[in-house]
């Protein structure tokens, strides 16, 4: 059992929560949250009221091509803006989680409107019961197209969706490639989903894209009696979804993925099993599972804090929020997906139906340079109101030594932590450069902090 970090201050814990349940925030936002209890903040994050963002109209005005997004790339300005700006951080973070698990890739679907609708589906259902989410994604026209269900017919079922539903979306398989279901269950699931497809839409080459819609063709649906997971009946896709959603294997699989995404890259089955029990006792309610996760001592322990490699999205949108980079949508905000892409994460286009491989795999020599360059550029951009504010906060602190200076800077950057070794190296650097002007010294230090290996963790 991990131990709670009893010495960790409240603001450090709030900052940790917001980095994991969202993309992080500024010093001032942490100050504002600190008037609330930790558990109250968790509750607020877990209960966003679904709505269009206030600036949706501006996005549509400035990036009119994203209104009729023909490709995933045309859709970028819409989602990246919300990732960088939405006050409902967990709503976007959970959408990103499901986008990586119930993965649909723009490389094949190539329909930006459908991709945006899927992300919105994750916002709407991502914190609710998994059964509802899985049913809705199974009726999502983009998903049906992505996994070839339009080619699955009564007399010739295509097994692709049935297989991925069991293997990658719900019950999962072990390291030996074995699942709690049989090959026959895959075939039966495929039959149950026959007739589920997307309606044909006109070609986009004349007038741009048309909205995709789900279509159920009863004449093309296999209505025969089926045996699935040991039960027999005239099952359709809805029945399959209901049976797998509350299966113990699904509870473990989904809770493992939630744990790996929100807590740690190293599987801790003691903790995952606790979450899986909560999942089963609460009919697969993701909100209740996450509440338990975020409020647990384990989540707040030293072994977890600053031990997870930031995904490209964590890094890019985290810095955007830290420095309050964007006030109104502009070309830079529209290109944020390019920044995450250069670090290995092309949003709205996961590399395969398995989504992205997280953790240390995010970082190689190329992506590390991109990460450091991006972070350095942003933290030294004095046009960002947040950078000026960070400098102001550091100035306001009592700075009697370089140790004070480093501590004040880490706090101003959102209660960051660095290792003792990194701290010594930074202080050594500061000692050699005592003669530079005060503002330049601060900017120099900020640049060094975001260039450290420590900054790659959240």
């Amino acid at each position: 059992m991990m131990t709670t970090n009893i010495n960790l201050g409240k603001k450090n814990l709030i900052a940790h929560l917001l980095r994991r349940a969202g993309f992080g925030c500024s010093y001032d936002q942490i100050e504002q949250f600190s008037t609330m209890e930790y558990d109250e903040i968790v509750d607020e994050l877990l209960n966003p009221e679904y709505s269009l963002p206030e600036d949706q109209d501006l996005l549509e005005r400035y990036f009119i091509a994203s209104v009729e997004a023909r490709t995933a790339r045309h859709a970028d300005p819409q989602w990246t803006w919300r990732l960088a700006k939405s006050k409902k951080q967990l709503e976007e973070k959970i959408a990103l989680f499901w986008h990586g698990l119930l993965a649909v890739g723009g490389v094949k679907l190539d329909h930006g409107l459908a991709m945006l609708e899927e992300i919105d589906l994750f916002r709407k259902y991502g914190l609710g019961k998994f059964n509802d989410l899985l049913l809705n994604i199974s009726k999502d026209p983009g998903m049906m197209y992505w996994l070839d269900n339009q080619n699955s017919h009564k007399n010739a079922p295509n097994e692709n969706y049935g297989r991925e539903l069991l293997e990658l979306f719900s019950m999962g398989i072990d390291e030996n490639g074995e699942g709690a279901y049989s090959e026959e269950d895959v075939k039966v699931a495929a039959k149950a989903f026959t007739g589920w497809a997307s309606k044909p839409t006109p070609p986009p080459f004349l007038l741009g894209p048309f909205k995709m819609e789900f279509n159920f063709d009863e004449l093309d649906h296999d209505n025969s009696e089926k045996t699935f997971l040991g039960k027999t009946g005239n099952f359709n896709g809805e029945d399959i979804v209901e049976m797998v959603s509350l299966h113990p294997s699904t509870a473990k699989f989904i809770c493992k993925r939630l744990y790996l995404f929100f807590v740690s890259e190293e599987e801790n089955w003691e903790e995952i099993n606790i979450l899986a029990d909560i999942y089963l006792k609460n009919e697969g309610n993701i909100r209740i599972v996450l509440e338990s996760l975020f409020k647990s001592d384990h989540f707040k322990s030293k072994e977890i804090i600053f031990k997870k490699v930031k995904s490209p999205s964590d890094l890019v949108f985290g810095i955007s929020r830290m420095v309050d980079r964007f006030q109104v949508p502009d070309l830079d905000s529209a290109e944020l997906a390019t920044n995450t892409f250069l670090m290995g994460q092309l949003l709205l286009n996961p590399p395969s139906v398995e989504g992205w491989h997280e953790g240390e795999e995010w970082i190689d020599s190329g992506s590390l340079i991109e990460r450091i360059n991006y972070a350095s550029d942003e933290i030294t951009n004095l046009n960002s109101p947040g950078v000026k504010r960070i400098i102001e906060i550091i100035y306001s602190k009592k700075l009697d030594s370089n140790e004070d200076f480093v501590n004040a800077s880490l706090e101003a950057l959102g209660y960051l932590e660095i290792s003792d070794r990194t701290r010594e190296i930074i202080k050594e650097h500061l000692n050699k450069n005592n003669n530079i002007s005060e503002e330049n010294k601060i900017i120099d230090l900020l640049k060094i902090i975001v260039s450290t290996p420590d900054f790659q963790y959240c």
Binding site: D57, L58, E60, R61, Y62, F63, I64, A65, S66, V67, E68, R70, R73, H74, D76, P77, K199, P200, T201, P202, P203, P204, F205, L206, L207, G208, F210, V328, D330, L331, A334, E335, T338
Partner: protein
């Protein structure tokens, strides 16, 4: 269902990243028997341009393509002609006005980012008055600024808010024969009308028991009739010169000449379209943005369908 009551004429356009066709056309002007159509495009494809096209769908030439150099643009928003037949283009990203001759040759540019007199912060709608002065919707500064054709500041009016004379992300602009100024006060969901001095005259905010939803542009024809693209609700609203509501258009597009030619040589696309059968949806406006008239016709840029729908007056 509401249907258009003006006689539909025809449609020009096809989605095209370059050359013949448009990419998110958002403004339009008619001059010397040619339509000048401004394609906004998007941040990644960089295919913005002005296309000169005949009413009969002949593509003549294009200019003001992507870039920051003289004669180029990044996020163009509006176009206007002065009394000397020079062509003006506003650019929200570069915060400048570029000037071209009728053949699209670059003449000069002016404007810089800022909040002081004469500075610009995302210039959107532009129009010329009878004194050959250029009025610019300086939209993030929530004001209308007046310049001479060399870019020398003359005057301005407006501030942020929702009272008379205040603006909230205004977009389009038109000037009538009396030099009255009509502003599409976009986020306030209304059209505001001012006299030549910038003094408030009137607000139009509803029609036929409906309210406007993010009107993007306004146009006044030679008779004084008022045309408004009701961008947020995908329709076009027309009033007579006495502000009496006369028509609401929802889109009646047929396949353009260019679309027909495309389908003729791509039969698989044609059968794909036939099998989808979305013919009613194909007709309707999707974010109508710019509007223009000549003596006989009304031209509407249907920005998310990459075309211009044309009606008879």
């Amino acid at each position: 269902m509401v249907t258009s009551s003006l006689e539909y004429s025809h449609t020009i356009g096809i989605a095209s990243f370059e050359g013949r066709g448009f990419m998110n056309p958002i403004d339009i002007k008619f001059k010397n028997d040619l339509l000048f159509i401004l394609s906004r495009s998007n941040a990644s494809n960089k295919n913005n341009r002005v296309s000169a096209v005949s009413v009969q769908s002949e593509h003549k030439f294009e200019f003001a393509n992507w870039g920051e150099e003289d004669g180029q643009s990044i996020l163009p928003t509006s176009i206007a002609f002065d009394l000397d037949n020079n062509y003006y283009l506003s650019d929200e990203h570069l915060n400048r006005i570029s000037i071209f001759d009728l053949e699209g040759n670059f003449i000069e540019k002016w404007g810089k980012y800022g909040h002081g007199k004469g500075d610009l912060n995302r210039p959107s709608g532009i129009a010329i008055n009878s004194d050959n002065e250029l009025l610019v919707v300086d939209h993030l500064n929530s004001r209308i600024q007046k310049f001479d054709t060399k870019g020398n500041y003359i005057s301005s009016f407006g501030e942020f808010g929702d009272l008379e004379g205040q603006f909230n992300y205004p977009w389009g602009l038109a000037i009538d024969s009396q030099d009255n100024i009509f502003v599409a006060d976009w986020r306030n969901n209304r059209i505001q009308i001012f006299n030549k001095k910038g003094e408030f005259i009137k607000i139009i905010q509803n029609f036929n028991n409906e309210n406007f939803n993010k009107p993007s542009s306004v146009h006044i024809d030679e008779k004084g009739d008022i045309y408004i693209t009701n961008w947020g609700d995908d329709n076009v609203v027309i009033y007579d010169k006495n502000y009496n509501f006369s028509h609401k258009l929802i889109g009646d597009a047929t396949l353009s000449k260019w679309c027909k030619e495309f389908l003729d040589v791509n039969p698989e696309q044609s059968s794909w379209r036939e099998s989808a059968g979305s013919f009613e949806e194909e007709k309707r406006f999707w974010r109508p943005a710019g509007i223009e008239t000549n003596d006989e016709l009304i031209f509407i840029t249907d920005s998310c369908r990459h075309r211009v729908q044309i009606y008879k007056k």
